[in-house]
């Protein structure tokens, strides 16, 4: 026992149990001992959670059975996010988990679309995207597996109850040797010389020592912030929403395979359909609306009966200055917060876990190159998501005080250039690591009303009539293909029906 490398995970929410499950799946128990300390007294923030397609990779990485996982977490499928009233009141667009179109000539599809769109011969960008067309008809199918089929050009994610997911992973991880320690932490012990965390002490008097600590304690950052004093980079001047009111409602007949975000006076409202109910929330700027008014707005805009009183959450858009300091790695809310507008919370946890596993020290004494790399890649992830979220805010009608402020604020230079370049010629830089890929930027730019003034010149090589004909035929193929997919409700009922709670 004494030779093993000891990992102590502090906090048993979604982040904690995801980390514990990954350790159970990928670390040799003869060499690593992994314990998770949590207290039943501290509730987890368990609102309906929407995710990105990488979530499926994570479950596959663990080896979870998809149908079983979906049944256990009341999960539904997700093909993208619908944005309502973003840009202008009455507008709607979908940011899909898939690409637009298919190759036509030497230029990329989007360039042909720009050209035809400017000539007035293109349909809406959405019509060239299978997951959007299927989603808006409440249909779902798994990718067909045939590379030539438009029904294969997408990925999917899940919408689920994060509390149930944590519970499911807990049972899964405990069955694979992860030790759960029940107790409230009352003291964190640091090494007098190095400042490293030596142990956490529980109210019971127990002392849990470790070589590496994972801080999954949530917003407060018990180890990272309160003990090691690692500060945050405050991004609230760009992303001013600081509160959310959340409430579940009864499942409605409109059973979407997508998440919805509706822009409102002081923020935006989410709608996340699960099997047993619908998760709803109003993310708002406390400077622009009172809690009571926000809760009332939320309750007035549900499509099913509210099943509880709205619960209020507080946060601040930020990133922890370091995700790994001393012998402690922060993940989840302890490592920063970005509002759930693009469903990135679980993705960020997942990235932190994957990088932690590959960079895990092999014994006492941490090679400084390891934390340096984890901090570098997590910074890249956070910064890219930040810019993408800000993009949603800046391109809107200034129809309320919040929207007047955010549409005239100074944005990060990295984003200002992106917008100019997209407007000029539809240019989106593709990068290998991190979110988001070109189709995501294209969807949101165009959806928010930022349209390119020109396309790549290579798109001008084909005759206009040919481009028009190819676009029309593609839209027809996608419409026909979507009609072959079953309804989302039927698919779930057959594939992964969850028991009533």
């Amino acid at each position: 026992m004494g030779d093993k490398f000891e990992i102590v995970i502090v906090g048993g929410g979604t982040a904690g149990w995801m980390c514990a499950a990954a350790c159970a799946a990928k670390l040799d128990p003869a060499r690593f001992r992994v314990r998770l300390v949590e207290s039943e007294e501290i509730g987890t923030v368990g609102v309906g959670e929407a995710t990105l397609p990488q979530m499926k990779d994570f479950n596959d990485f663990l080896g979870l059975d998809e149908a079983e996982f979906m049944q256990a977490t009341q999960a539904t499928f997700k093909l993208g996010i619908e944005f309502i009233n973003w840009g202008r009141q009455g507008d709607r667009y979908v940011h899909p988990f898939g690409t637009f179109g298919r190759p036509i000539g030497e230029a990329d599809f989007f360039s042909y679309w720009i050209r035809a769109h400017r000539a007035g011969t293109a349909a809406s960008l959405s019509d060239y995207c299978f997951p959007i067309v299927a989603a808006l008809q409440n249909r779902f199918m798994l990718p067909s597996g045939d590379a030539n089929d438009v029904r294969n050009a997408f990925a999917y994610a899940y919408q689920f109850d994060a509390f149930l997911y944590a519970r499911y992973l807990r049972q899964w991880a405990e069955a694979r040797g992860i030790e759960r320690v029940e107790g409230r932490i009352v003291e964190v012990e640091q090494d007098g010389g190095t400042g490293d965390i030596a142990a956490v002490k529980l109210a019971s008097g127990a002392r849990i020592a470790g070589d590496l600590f994972v801080d999954c304690s949530g917003f407060r950052g018990l180890l990272m912030a309160q003990t090691l004093g690692v500060g945050i980079e405050d991004w609230s001047h760009w992303l001013p929403c600081d509160s959310a009111a959340a409430v579940p409602s009864a499942r409605s007949a409109d059973f979407h395979p997508y998440t919805r975000s509706t822009r409102r006076t002081a923020g935006w409202q989410w709608r996340i359909p699960l099997q047993h109910r619908t998760g709803n929330g109003y993310v708002y700027s406390g400077a622009d609306i009172s809690d009571d008014e926000a809760a009332a707005t939320l309750l007035a805009n549900l499509d099913g009966e509210a099943m509880a009183e709205p619960r209020v959450l507080r946060f601040k858009a930020c990133k922890r200055e370091k995700a790994w300091a001393h012998n402690c790695i922060a993940m989840g809310l302890a490592s920063g917060f970005l509002e759930p507008l693009e469903s990135t919370s679980i993705y960020l946890v997942q990235m932190a876990i994957m990088h932690m596993l590959t960079l895990l020290p092999s014994g006492p004494g941490i090679d400084p190159a390891l934390p340096a790399e984890l901090n570098r890649v997590m910074d890249v992830e956070y910064d890219r998501i930040r810019d993408f979220l800000i993009l949603h805010y800046i391109a809107n009608e200034p129809d309320a005080p919040l929207w007047e402020r955010v549409t005239t604020m100074a944005v990060p230079d990295t984003l200002a250039d992106k917008i100019d370049r997209f407007r000029h010629r539809g240019h989106v830089q593709a990068y290998r690591d991190g979110l988001f890929g070109p189709p995501s930027w294209q969807a949101v730019f165009v959806g928010q009303g930022i349209e390119p003034q020109a396309a790549d010149r290579l798109a001008d090589v084909l005759p206009a009539a040919t481009v028009e004909e190819r676009l029309a035929s593609l839209a027809a193929t996608i419409a026909d293909a979507a009609a072959t997919a079953p309804s989302h409700a039927d698919f779930i009922a057959r594939y992964c029906p969850a028991p009533a709670p």
Partner: protein, 487 residues
Amino acid sequence: MTNSVQRVVVHGGGVAAAMAALAVSRAYARLGTDVVWVDTGEAFAPHAALIAPPDLSTFHRLLGIDEATLVRHAAATINMGQQFAGWSGGDDAFLHAYGDAGSAFASLPFVQHWTRARAAGLGVALEDFCLAAAAAKQGRTGAPREAATRQAVKAGWHLDAAGYARLLRAACEQADIRIVPGAGAVPHRGGAGLDRIDLADGEQLAADLFIDTDGTLIAALDPGTAARPAFCDRIIRASAPAFDPLPLYSRVAAHPAGWLTMIPLANRTAIEFAYDSASLADADAPAALASALGRAVDAAPPAPLAAAARPRPWVGNVVAVGPAAGAAPPLDGAELLLLQLGIAQLVLLWPIDRAAMPEADIYNEEMAGTRARVADFTAQHFRLNARTGELYWDAARAAPVSAELAAKIDLFAARGMFAHYNHEAHVEDSWALVMAGHGVTPRSFDPQALLTEDQALMAEFQRQLRAVASDVHAMESHADALRRMRG
């Protein structure tokens, strides 16, 4: 497109100008773009040869240059990698081959398993698990049918520079590009850029966009070049008889005052002796070269080796590519790699509007990043050299490197992993083969590798070595490949 770029002038000589003119013409002549090449007739360095990295093979398809043409007119041989000899002090050599560094296994890169096995005493080098390296060393090339390894094997070329320039010029003529002789052209400013150049014979050539490989045009708009550390400041080019059989890789041998590159061509061996004039006087250099080769060779006099690059290759309506954009690092096929990337990026970012070209900022960002990462790749050889006690090499090892390269070396040394930045031009496995070749064995490995039992790992290693051997056996000889290509 009423405001589109319609008239393009390419200004310069040699390989760079011909390649730029051809690429632009093939992409945009269809849209009515007129390309004129003002050939400055720059004299070729005698004996010059080029190392084309695998990326160039793809680019040749876009240019419409086929294998047969290269073999017939540029004395081309196949380039599967570069061998580095003596960089760690002794006679040790390793091959940077263009292919996978072993086959991924149990969802982890092969390097992780190799690191674990090295720590347990394995003596086999990383490159022995690399099919491209094994094949190149045994004189075999091409793709085996029903490969046992499924490893990527990529190949570029070794080219005679003068022959290559001639065949590109012939391709320009075939594409109906107007070529006018024009040394000493005078740029004429207009607005934020140039509106025309005046040729010595009195002809005035107006254009919407100027592509400058010579450097005169861009210098009229932007004086600035940024110097970077030169690894050597002199070069002697020479020729020796061709090898028989022809190797599939060039050889870069460290020398007390620099290095010696031998590039196998079909009709000769091109030699580049790069040295530092502080360590070796020009007067002594020819003798040093002869001594290193063991005999006298037909050599040109020492020439300077430049090391400056432009931070902004695109200014106004002038885009500098090739030599005008800056000197390429003198190793790793960087000259053709940067030239090709510079031209390809310009084709991609072809300006929409001749009156205003905000594309310049994107281009400059992309190329600065690419150039920095390509320079890092070359800088690693010097940083990691283990020739201690020699002034030149001790200084090369101590020379400052970029923060990105420092992070890459630190992370590979710590964990066998690769810190990936934007604009990388070399793949991860190339970095791994080179760093491991220079003697960096990672200190630790991904703990997920421990899920594989020791015995299963040994069995997998043996399986991979057998698969490499059987794939090599199924490949063709260099001579057969060249004969087939010649047609």
